[in-house]
Every structure is written in structure tokens, then in C-alpha cells.
């Protein structure tokens, strides 16, 4: 992305500390600029095609997939996730539910369906496209993940404990980076995800397109990549652990109308 390269040059040249304020302003300007030229819509369109495509041993599309509001009801469904699903008796986030539908409706194996969940710039993954499409169908709907069912409450509690749990060779928890006001890693601002004010804009904009590497990123990826940087082993995709963290973050940051998929640096 040329504009990104321009920003890198701007940052590299803006060396003096007196320029720190200007640098911050430049970054804000840049963020506005990239939001205006985001290719998110293309991801949504491709996701819609995949949603309607017949696949798997059952040769059916995902159009009968129930994301919580009834089979095939997509408007506002993402805003209510994660939530407890009676048929699976499990709390599920978007990706976990999509995987459930691929297995139960399309007859695909979990192994096949999760073979390549995180794509790259050249070849985004099926679940990334689908996430873009389905999340986009909730634009304008206030985020209201499930919190009343006992299993939803338990997922929130587990997620909260995981958020603060320090582990691994570098003794990190989520809160090591996302626990204090106004902190950065390098130039990247870090929201305090345990506080509603900071969590809301995050919850309202994920999943998201990332300009710096031209990739579309899901929440399961976000958690996975944080654990990588924390020097931990890898969390299982769509596990109760990753869903619990998403539940904790989503409930903490609920209330803001969805305005994603977002565009990140």
C-alpha cells in the first residue's frame, strides 16, 4: 500500500521528540484516509458468494445456517454474538458457529473446514470472507452479546480470568499490554480492553481489514496472534478458551452500534 509507505517515511523523518504531537496527528490523518479507501466491501461481496455456494459432502450452501435469529437470518445476527446456542449447548462466537454449520449442514469434517482458517493477502480464507459478509449485515445494530444464560455468564467469567492470567516464558497476560491507560507498543496504541470505554470501539469494528499487510483479520486470529506474541503455545481455533475471551471482551464493550468491518493501520 503506497499510502502506508508514505506514512513510514513520514514517521522515519519525524525524528525529533518535539514532533511527537505532529506524529500523532499524522497517524490520525492517515487512519481517516485509509478508512475512506478500504476494500472491506469486496470482502463482503466475496463472503456473500461463499455463503450461497453449495459445498461439502451434503452439497448445500450455508443459507440455512442459524446464527441465532433463525435459519438464514443475518440482519443484526453478528451483533448478538457470542451467545449460547441450544442445539450445541455451547457459547459460540461467529467463527465457531460458522464452523458448526459447515460440519452439521454441509457435512464437512472439522479438520477439512479448519485446515486454513487464517489466510494471507493473496488468498484470504473462506472464514475471513464469510466473517466480513456476516459482520457487515449487522451495521447499525448495537452490540448485545449474550450474558443472561448461565453458560454465557460462565464464559464471561472464564474470559475475565484468562485476561488477567500471567503465563508463559515472558509472564504475560492480556492485561500486560491492555491494562493501562495511554500505553503503546512501538507506535501502536493499546486499548484497555477491560474497560467499557476502550473496549466499545474495538468490539464495534472487528473483524477488520489491515492496511499494513492487506489482510482481512478475524477475532479468532486477533487472539491467536496475541498469544503468539506472548510467547505462549497456540490456542485451539474456536475453542471454549478463545470464545470465552471474546465473550469477556464483547460483553465489556457492548452497546455501541456495529460500524465494521473496520479498517486498521
Amino acid at each position: 500500500m503506497n499510502r502506508f509507505a508514505v506514512l513510514v517515511v513520514v514517521l522515519a523523518l519525524g525524528v525529533s521528540r518535539a514532533d511527537a504531537q505532529d506524529t500523532k496527528k499524522e497517524i490520525e490523518k492517515y487512519q481517516k484516509m485509509i478508512a475512506d479507501s478500504s476494500p472491506v466491501e469486496l470482502f463482503e461481496l466475496q463472503g456473500e458468494t461463499l455463503w450461497k455456494k453449495r459445498q461439502g459432502p451434503s452439497n448445500v450452501s450455508l443459507k440455512r445456517c442459524d446464527l441465532g435469529l433463525g435459519a438464514g437470518e443475518l440482519k443484526g445476527a453478528y451483533a448478538l454474538l457470542p451467545r449460547h446456542f441450544k442445539d450445541a449447548d455451547r457459547v459460540m462466537d461467529l467463527e465457531t458457529r460458522l464452523l458448526h454449520c459447515m460440519v452439521t449442514l454441509q457435512g464437512r469434517s472439522r479438520e477439512e473446514a479448519t485446515k486454513r482458517v487464517f489466510g494471507n493477502a493473496d488468498t484470504p480464507s473462506e472464514i475471513e470472507y464469510l466473517s466480513a459478509y456476516i459482520a457487515g449485515e449487522s451495521r447499525g445494530t448495537p452490540m448485545a452479546p449474550g450474558s443472561a444464560h448461565p453458560k454465557e455468564a460462565a464464559a464471561y467469567e472464564l474470559g475475565r480470568k484468562l485476561f488477567f492470567y500471567r503465563a508463559g516464558p515472558w509472564d504475560f497476560s492480556c492485561a500486560s499490554c491492555h491494562g493501562e491507560e495511554g500505553k503503546r507498543i512501538r507506535m501502536q496504541d493499546l486499548p484497555i480492553l477491560s474497560t467499557p470505554a476502550a473496549a466499545r470501539p474495538v468490539v464495534a469494528t472487528w473483524p477488520a481489514y489491515r492496511v499494513s499487510n492487506s489482510e482481512f483479520k478475524t477475532m479468532q486470529w486477533r487472539i491467536n496472534d496475541c498469544y503468539r506474541q506472548m510467547r505462549m503455545p497456540e490456542p485451539n481455533y474456536a475453542s471454549d478458551l478463545t470464545v470465552a475471551i471474546t465473550t469477556y471482551l464483547s460483553v465489556t464493550g457492548r452497546g455501541e452500534p456495529y460500524r465494521g468491518p473496520g479498517t486498521k493501520r
Binding site: L11, G14, V15, R17, D19, A20, T23, L158, R160, K161, L162, F164, Y165, R166, A167, G168, P169, W170, D171, F172, A175, S176, C177, G179, E180, G182, K183, R184, I185, R186, M187, Q188, L190, I192, S194, T195, R228, Q229, R231, M232, P233, E234, P235, N236, S239, D240, L241, T242, A244
Partner: protein, 207 residues
């Protein structure tokens, strides 16, 4: 001189204290056990990141149990244990500041995405300001700009700096800084090079 050094240590410890992080919950041992069981169930090994990394040590256990604020007696005892295991090398602890700069810049090491031949760095700039020329620095840790200029490079200062990088928990049990020597991330020579980056008068950190 001695007194000034002690005062400085106290000030540094205060600056590095891990206290005001948003409501870190104090949990019971049973709750910790529950979280640890979930981790064992829902993680898998990848690359160099083996599942053995999920085993908590005494420091992590104490900090997790007490919301990063363990009782003073427990903290002191564990800090002493951590300190005793540092194994300070004899002689000067000042290596090569130029190599130290590269180590401070590098964020590699111990991630499953790092190859077996990748040389680890200290990830210092992720959290600290060091050289005034590097604007892309994090703010999770205190600024170390002018670190050696302000403090000198006496043997005590070298030892403190080496120890703090090797195992920050020996000085402040629930410090947010990784134990870069203790965890096997950096070698003795790499830590000496970082000490030079912080203390050498020629280092850009002190210009």
C-alpha cells in the same frame, strides 16, 4: 555516592512498580486451577512453543493469586530466590553497545513464528524509549533515555542493570518486564551488550 545510588535504586523501583494496572482480580487457588485446566485443554504445541510453557512457576503463581500484589514477606522471599539464580558473570559487564542496539531493536525470539536459527532480541523498544533517534518506541515501561548519563557506570550500576535485564522479578516480583535471561531468551553476552547500550557513554542512549 553509595547513598545516592541507593536513592536512585529506590526511585527506579518506584517507576517500575506494577501497581496501577486496572483492577487485577485476586483469585483463589481453585480458580487458578480451573484456568490452568482450560489452558492445558485448549492449547497445542507449535514450533518452539511447547505445552510445558503453560506450567506456572512460583513467581507466576504468587502474582496470579494476589492480583500482582503478593504479601510483602512472600514477595521478598521469592525475589531473593530469583536474585540468587541470576549468576552474575565476573569482571566488567559492559559489552558492545552497537550490538546492544540491534538486540534492543529486535522483537524476535521464543515465538512459534520464529525459526530455530533466528537470533532472539530483547524487544526493548516495544516498551521503552532508549535512543532519542528512535521515535518508534513503546511506553509500557519507563523511558530509559539517558540511562547511563544520569546514573554513571559504576560496578554496582552494571550489576544492577545486568540483573534487571536478566530477571526483573528479582527486584520487583510482579514486574511486567519479561525475565530475559532467566527465560533463556537472551545469552549472557547479549545482556552485556544491552548493559553497554544503556551505560556506555558512547551509546546514543546517553547522547
Amino acid at each position: 555516592m553509595k547513598k545516592a545510588f541507593k536513592l536512585y535504586i529506590a526511585a527506579t523501583l518506584a517507576a517500575c512498580s506494577s501497581a496501577p494496572v486496572s483492577e487485577r482480580p485476586v483469585v483463589s487457588e481453585a480458580e487458578l486451577f480451573e484456568v490452568q485446566a482450560v489452558l492445558k485443554r485448549d492449547f497445542h504445541a507449535r514450533g518452539s512453543a511447547a505445552l510445558s510453557r503453560l506450567e506456572p512457576d512460583a513467581v507466576q503463581q504468587a502474582c496470579n493469586l494476589h492480583g500482582d500484589g503478593p504479601p510483602e514477606a512472600l514477595a521478598k522471599a521469592l525475589e531473593a530466590q530469583q536474585f540468587a539464580a541470576i549468576g552474575f558473570p565476573a569482571g566488567s559487564l559492559i559489552g558492545d553497545w552497537k550490538r546492544g542496539q540491534r538486540i534492543a531493536q529486535s522483537g524476535r525470539g521464543l515465538q512459534w513464528s520464529d525459526g530455530p536459527k533466528d537470533v532472539a532480541g530483547g524487544s526493548c523498544y516495544n516498551c521503552h524509549q532508549l535512543s532519542p533517534q528512535e521515535v518508534s518506541h513503546g511506553t509500557l515501561g519507563p523511558s530509559l533515555l539517558g540511562f547511563g548519563k544520569l546514573r554513571g557506570n559504576s560496578p554496582e550500576m552494571q550489576k544492577y542493570t545486568y540483573g534487571r535485564i536478566y530477571n526483573s522479578k528479582a527486584y520487583n516480583l510482579c514486574s511486567q518486564m519479561p525475565r530475559l535471561g532467566h527465560s533463556g531468551t537472551l545469552t549472557e553476552q547479549q545482556i552485556k551488550d544491552l548493559v553497554a547500550y544503556l551505560l556506555d557513554a558512547e551509546s546514543p542512549v546517553n547522547k
